[in-house]
């Protein structure tokens, strides 16, 4: 009974060792970064920041800011003209009395 168990344990250790060896890269291929870092000047395209969101954000900002500014001029003009109208009405009423 003990022999069988020892035999199974030995077999599983051997099997684990073989499978671990199978996963280890061959001597010529070390895992990335293990042997040292290799510098490159350009990132591969898949790793780079996508440009489109920045481009869209830039143009969208200009449009939104421009519309907001136009709205602010229109509102300020409207307020001044309304004040002028009410002032003219007041002066007309004062003149009539």
């Amino acid at each position: 009974m003990i022999r069988r168990r020892l035999g199974a344990a030995l077999a599983s250790i051997v099997w684990l060792g073989v499978s671990a060896l199978a996963q280890t890269p061959p001597p010529g291929q070390a895992p990335p970064g293990q042997e040292g870092f290799v510098p490159i000047t350009q990132l591969p395209p898949a790793q780079q920041l996508p440009a489109a969101p920045y481009l869209i954000a830039a143009y969208a900002f200009i449009w939104v800011a421009l519309l907001a500014y136009l709205f602010s001029i229109w509102r300020r003009l409207g307020r001044v003209e309304q004040e002028m109208r009410s002032l003219e009405q007041r002066s007309r009423k004062g003149g009539a009395r």
Partner: protein
């Protein structure tokens, strides 16, 4: 200007509607690719800022030396448009930098001076709003000094070492890429017309405010 306003508005709207087509048809830059297309609104924003800062500086000087109320109205309109176009240039520049340089901001000569210019004109508008009597003269002095910094900012990329593209990039574009250059000229023309329209609208607002003040004075008398 009132007669020209509507035709100018129609032409400008048409140009801005066509601008995306002109930008899309322009070729890509070999190293920056898609992000370089920000250039077609970024550079015209600064050119429009140059126009508005010139109006502000010249009108401020006229106001200080002659006391002309009309010049003061042009000065305040020019200052407000300077902050608007400055914000366009700074924000689009930051978005470009994030992709092209990998950073949002760099404290180099060109970028720092451009930010300082924006802050000077934000200060101008705050003085105008909160400084009370005499704010016109104080802000006129700020307008003159703010405008005086513009040539230094333009030449900063040639005089000091910065990561920003040099002025020669735009100057030589006509030879290196006529398609890019024509798209840039088209967008610049659209931005300058937009500047003229906004200046006209903003000066009209100042004229109306002055007319309202006169009505109040007449009522008090």
């Amino acid at each position: 200007m009132r007669r020209l306003f509507l035709p100018l508005l129609i032409v400008t709207a048409g140009m801005f509607a066509y601008a995306p087509v002109a930008i899309a048809n322009a070729p890509y830059e070999s190293t920056m690719l898609l992000i370089q297309k920000i250039f077609y609104f970024h550079v015209p924003s600064w050119i429009a800022l140059t126009a508005s800062i010139t109006v502000c500086g010249v009108a401020s000087a006229i106001y200080l030396f002659t006391g002309s109320a009309v010049a003061d109205r042009y000065a305040v309109a020019g200052a407000e448009l300077t902050t608007l176009f400055g914000a366009f240039g700074l924000v689009t520049g930051m978005l470009w930098a994030r992709k092209a340089w990998g950073i949002w901001w760099e404290w180099d000569a060109r970028l720092t001076m451009a930010l300082m210019l924006e802050l000077v004109f934000v200060g101008y508008l705050m003085v105008r709003k909160f400084a009370g009597p005499g704010a016109e003269k104080l802000s006129a002095a700020m307008g003159i000094f703010g405008a005086a910094t513009a040539p230094f900012i333009y030449k900063s990329v040639d005089w000091w070492r910065t990561i920003h593209p040099k002025t020669s990039v735009v100057r030589s574009l006509g030879e290196t890429s006529p398609e890019m250059y024509s798209a840039l000229l088209f967008c610049t023309a659209a931005f300058l017309m937009l500047f003229a329209l906004l200046l006209s609208a903003r000066v009209t607002l100042e004229h109306q405010r002055a007319a309202l003040d006169e009505l109040y004075l007449a009522e008090e008398e």
